[in-house]
């Protein structure tokens, strides 16, 4: 017989999946600060990172509350180790060139926006409320990333090549956000969160339309990596956490 899933534990897990993904992506985006190709992009990237970090505070704050062990959003962000992180592998991919950063953003936004839309219908009012607030920000992220993918895909020969390379590199990391595991299914059945596979049709049609207009081609039959949601990450995440958590780890008695 299948193990009975403890709903509170599943909810903690589900909230960490959301909050860790926004945290890790927000961190990656913030690495661009001062190095973007044009000033407008410096502003847009900082703005997006800011939104994502703000969403992290909400998701991880709620996760800590649900867990009930006295951990707040900062304790979860700065005092867990790699295997306790539940973010998607996609968002921990290194920035690469600006094309890869942008493609990663688009592939994520195209999932994030419909996911938040679905979460607005959660029977947990706390989740519905965060989703509605985050959804307003993310609608703008998606508009921007889709627009830039189109412009650069259908720009110069070089910009096209870079965007295609970015797509080829990142596509193998798009599987796990559209695949439900036991935790996802338990939360969906309880009406608390939307199942990732229910987002797939929207994601596929959105991504398909944008890539078409961008004259880009999704790789066919690519192997799809998984594991981030369950805590098995790439080598990259440990380095990110070493940077991100350093002060909290080095001076555990300090308040900041």
């Amino acid at each position: 017989m299948e193990a009975v899933v403890d709903l509170d534990a599943a909810l903690f897990e589900g909230l960490c999946r959301l909050g860790d993904s926004t945290l890790v992506l927000g961190h990656r985006v913030s690495e661009w600060c001062g190095h973007a190709p044009v000033l407008e992009e410096d502003i847009a990237l900082a703005n997006m990172a800011l939104d994502l970090i703000g969403q992290t505070q909400l998701w991880l704050g709620l996760a800590g509350e649900v867990e009930g062990k006295g951990r707040d959003a900062d304790a979860l962000a700065f005092r867990r180790d790699v295997w306790e992180f539940r973010n998607l592998l996609l968002v921990e991919r290194p920035n690469g060139d600006f094309g890869q950063t942008l493609m990663r953003q688009f592939l994520f936004d195209a999932w994030h926006q419909p996911m938040l839309k679905a979460l607005e219908g959660s029977n947990d009012a706390r989740i519905a409320e965060i989703a509605a607030k985050a959804g307003r920000e993310v609608a703008y992220h998606l508009e921007r990333s889709a627009d830039l993918v189109i412009r650069l895909g259908d720009g110069t020969e070089e910009s096209h090549k870079r965007m295609q390379t970015a797509l080829d590199k990142l596509w193998p990391y798009t599987g796990e956000m559209l695949t439900s595991d036991e935790t996802d299914r338990a939360l969906a059945e309880a009406g608390i969160m939307a199942a990732p596979d229910s987002i797939r049709p929207t994601w596929e049609s959105l991504v398909g339309e944008v890539l078409d207009e961008a004259t880009l081609t999704a790789p066919e039959g690519a192997y799809l990596h998984k594991g981030g949601k369950q805590g098995t990450h790439s080598e990259h995440l440990g380095h990110m956490l070493a940077t991100m958590q350093w002060l909290q780890r080095a001076y555990p008695d300090a308040t900041w």
Binding site: H35, P37, A46, R151, L152, E158, S159, A254
Partner: protein, 325 residues
């Protein structure tokens, strides 16, 4: 204040026109981009506004250095918001400069070739987390000293940019001081970081106002044109008088053994920074000049394909629109 040692340009125009122009400035009128202005006024302003804009852009780097290591989510968010504001300030200022007939790309090229400068302060490193506090408290504090009077500058677009920028800068200064408070009241290690940050940023902050300009002809011209409102020494004194009690409140020591209150002048006596160090930094020999310029050059070079891609797409779209009509 992100403009240092801005040379004003000589002007050889019709004395009658010049006198009429000066009369408008003296009457407190704003000069708008399409109106007649002396060539020297225009060129000096381009230099000053451009230097200020470049400083905002390069200024993202020392603070950006800590975004990925900010110790809490809240601190990370505040720092991101601040650095975003600075990029925004850069944008308004480049726009103000554009109204004088110079493009953002031209200004960027002048920065990258070393023809134009940015404030010396951004060539100092941010080495511990309290430096982010010190940058907000001291560097933004010094910037505000200069920018508040510049809200009354004679050139309309510059004055309006300053009004917007000043609102945000005072928030920046408060968040810097707030970090310093936390650090100064924290563990012994945190307090040591705060003192170390103050030790390293004190004199470079005093240098931000530039060397004494009491005998400078350039400054006199800029002041007559209301491009410059106060002398460097006036602003430096004001900054020291404001900052010393703040340091005392934090329980930190200003690294100047000769600092003392002078009852007679109603201000502090203080040691001058090492001006030979200042001139070395301006020449490119500061601790971070090479890294800052490399970072800006790399952003520009690596971004070329992105900018070209967007231009090419815009051209394709325009062509398709024409073809469809």
């Amino acid at each position: 204040m992100y403009a240092q040692m801005v040379k004003s340009e000589a002007t050889n125009e019709d004395p009658e026109k010049l006198a009429a122009f000066q009369a408008r400035i003296d009457a407190g009128e704003k000069i708008e981009p399409k109106e007649w202005m002396p060539e020297g006024y225009r060129k000096t302003l381009i230099r000053q506004i451009g230097q200020h804009a470049h400083s905002e852009i390069v200024g993202q780097l020392p603070e950006g250095n800590w975004i990925t290591r900010a110790p809490t989510l809240e601190r990370k968010a505040i720092l991101l918001a601040k650095v975003q504001d600075e990029a925004g300030h850069g944008l308004y200022l480049y726009c103000a400069a554009e109204t004088l007939g110079v493009s953002r790309d031209e200004l960027t090229e002048a920065l990258l070739s070393g023809k134009m400068k940015y404030s010396s302060i951004f060539n100092y490193p941010t080495l511990n987390w309290a430096d982010i506090g010190a940058v907000g408290w001291l560097v933004d504090g010094a910037a505000i000293m200069n920018q508040v009077p510049l809200q009354r500058t004679s050139f309309g677009p510059y004055s309006r940019a300053m009004i917007r920028i000043c609102k945000e800068e005072s928030f920046h200064q408060r968040q810097g001081y707030d970090i310093m408070m936390k650090m100064a009241q924290g563990t012994p290690e945190q307090k040591a970081m705060a003192q170390d940050a103050l030790n390293r940023f004190w004199y470079p902050s005093l240098m931000m106002f530039g060397p004494s300009d009491k005998d400078s002809v350039h400054s006199a011209q800029s002041m007559a044109w209301k491009i410059k409102i106060n002398t460097n020494d006036e602003l430096r004194q004001k900054f020291v008088d404001q900052t010393v009690p703040q340091a005392e409140y934090l329980g930190l020591t200003i690294p100047d053994p000769d600092l003392r209150w002078n009852e007679e002048k109603g201000g502090y006596d203080f040691s001058e920074p090492d001006w030979s160090e200042f001139f070395e930094v301006i020449k490119g020999n500061g601790p971070c000049n090479a890294e800052r310029m490399e970072a800006r050059q790399k952003a520009w070079d690596d971004g070329a394909w992105f900018r070209e891609g967007l231009m090419a797409h815009a051209a394709k779209r325009a062509a398709r629109k024409i073809a469809a009509e």
